[in-house]
Symmetry: C2
Subunit: 120 residues, 2 copies
């Protein structure tokens, strides 16, 4: 235990106690932490044409759930949706995608720099 000066009783969500960049990176990884969301991204990448939300026909999930995942991806900016009458055309956001890719890559590079570690 050795004298912790932190005595919060609240549980969970202590993300504000960490470095800003670490949080951003974690948020990025969290957005990609579900196969459905990865599948959605892949689907949007394959069908170059922007596709409406009925991606649910391609996934073993209900429309509601897919919509929820879409919203999550939209919240982090990985995809965009433009309204077209009743429909919504979704597509990838290349800029954000690149930004995220670089963030992930830099994290891996940063911690992979010293590989000469021996865990005896």
């Amino acid at each position: 235990m050795r004298h912790k000066k932190f005595t919060y009783k609240m549980a969970y969500a202590k993300t504000d106690l960490f470095d800003h960049k670490l949080n951003s990176t974690a948020v990025l990884f969290k957005a990609l932490a579900h196969p459905a969301r990865l599948a959605i991204l892949q689907y949007l990448a394959e069908t170059k044409v922007c596709i409406t939300g009925d991606i649910s026909d391609e996934l073993p999930l209900s429309r509601t759930t897919v919509n929820q995942h879409l919203t999550e991806l939209k919240n982090v900016g990985l995809i965009q949706g433009t309204v077209d009458g009743v429909k919504v055309n979704y597509c990838l956001n290349p800029e954000k995608l690149k930004e995220f890719s670089e963030l992930a890559t830099s994290f891996f590079e940063e911690i992979s720099r010293q590989t000469n570690i021996e865990c005896k």
Copy 2:
């Protein structure tokens, strides 16, 4: 709704319905989806010397919670722990780290291939 032939009543954890590689990738991202775990990895990378579990002194979290995060990282193979008497020396697993890095990179590349998408 358009005629879904999926009528599971069970909620949650439908990961078995997705592609194996997608699941692996999602598991990887999930392991990195918390700032504490990222901080632990960074700490282990900085202190080249393998360090014991009292990484908790470096983080605003209790020893128990840190231990939990360490276990998660151990479960996916990102870190290793070798017993040394009462202590446990933790260190990064360079191979797994590289493997994960490549998996992430290939995913990003795969979906970033076609960037000429216009979300009109």
